[in-house]
């Protein structure tokens, strides 16, 4: 384990992170392990996630982000889309696990081609492949023939095969709050577990925190690799 990685996993100093799309967050890095966000009945906040988002308009805290919403029920689709748009996010809806895998295949393949082009022609200003881009997946768990966990496993396998090092943040968004389901979600490769229905501010906090955590881990992994190469 390199020094860079150790620092990332043990420090408790608040850090400011410059994310894509101009988002700036102040947060305390947490070990990249399972992060359970319980939703207590009737309570407004019992969530261990650090939902202090400073320096950003609270109402449009997801401005500039693109979310892939994977949900099979019409009622929940409507509510999910409305909530995410109100928070400023762009939303793409797919209705099952298969469609989520299809959408991610396009994105991963495009990212893979762009990665190859950049590796072969380092520093050149070449045209890159365009495809829909998502910053995060909000994944229902219980769906038709391909459920959220199965879809996540396929997506993680595709990402590994593409060898770009990218790993899209995935939040399990589910009404089935059991220890077994939670374990299955994390084992499949999901990053956060969020109980449905979620209030707006908890959904926003979960998305922001998950993206920040993954972004931080990705940059620490890159630093670690750079250290190892030296």
């Amino acid at each position: 384990m390199s020094i860079g990685k150790e620092q990332a996993e043990t420090t408790s100093h608040p850090e400011k992170l410059e994310l894509e799309h101009g988002l700036q967050l102040e947060f305390k890095p947490v070990p990249v392990t399972n992060n359970i966000i319980p939703q207590a009945e009737g309570s407004s906040s019992s969530c261990p996630v650090n939902d202090d988002v400073t320096g950003v308009d609270e109402k449009k805290v997801l401005e500039g982000l693109s979310v892939l919403l994977v949900e099979d029920q019409a009622v929940l689709q409507r509510i999910g889309i409305r909530m995410l748009k109100k928070l400023g996010a762009g939303v793409t809806l797919v209705k099952d696990g298969e469609a989520a895998v299809e959408a991610m295949t396009l994105m991963i393949n495009a990212a893979g081609k762009n990665h190859q082009i950049q590796n072969l022609h380092h520093g050149s200003n070449l045209e890159t492949h365009n495809s829909p881009h998502y910053d995060l997946i909000l994944m229902d768990c219980q769906m038709g023939s391909m459920d959220g966990c199965k879809a996540t496993r396929v997506i993680r396998r595709l990402e590994a095969e593409a060898e770009t090092g990218q790993s899209i943040p995935i939040i399990a968004f589910t009404a089935l709050v059991t220890a077994d389901n939670e374990r299955e979600c994390f084992n499949s490769g999901m990053d956060t577990f969020l109980n449905k229905p979620a209030q707006e501010h908890l959904l926003a906090a979960a998305i922001v925190e998950t993206i920040a955590r993954k972004s931080h881990k990705f940059s620490c992994d890159e630093q670690a690799e750079a250290q190892d190469e030296k």
Binding site: G42, Q73, V75, L76, I79, R82, A175, P197, E200
Partner: protein, 145 residues
């Protein structure tokens, strides 16, 4: 009291009674927070989607429970979906029946499931009637203001 104030009071009283009698919970208020000028009929739209969804699911549960050999996993799947959509709109009583219903599915107890089916159907019918009344009163109160 003028007509507008009367209608508004009627709306508030009726709305309060839904919470007091446990038909809806705080999640129903959360839906109202998502409604604004850009989405002025959001609550009615979501309620309509819920009515369609619930009726299909209740019918599917009934068909599944009529079978000589009941597929309790199938029934449970429908109940889980109804629990999810009812809790998302704040339909508290419907949601609570679904919780009990799932236990009977797990236990593969057909009698228990049949009782829950009757109960969930009753609670859904009551809720639909109450919400439709609420929306009618709301339209009248807005129309006259």
């Amino acid at each position: 009291m003028d007509v507008v104030s009367q209608l508004q009071k009627q709306f508030i009283d009726f709305s309060s009674s839904l919470y007091r009698e446990g038909y809806v919970d705080d999640q129903f208020s959360q839906l109202h927070k998502l409604q604004d000028e850009s989405s002025p009929d959001f609550v009615v739209e979501v309620a309509s989607l819920f009515f369609d969804d619930a009726e299909k699911l209740i019918n599917s549960m009934a068909r599944a429970l009529e079978q000589p050999c009941v597929d309790f996993k199938q029934v449970d799947s429908h109940v889980h979906q109804l629990k999810g959509s009812s809790s998302s709109i704040g339909a508290l009583r419907v949601k609570n029946v679904c919780i009990a219903f799932r236990s009977f599915c797990d236990a593969q107890n057909r009698e228990g499931c049949m009782r829950c089916l009757q109960q969930v159907s009753h609670e859904y019918t009551m809720l639909k009637s109450k919400l439709q009344t609420l929306f009618r009163v709301s339209v009248k109160a807005c129309g006259n203001s």
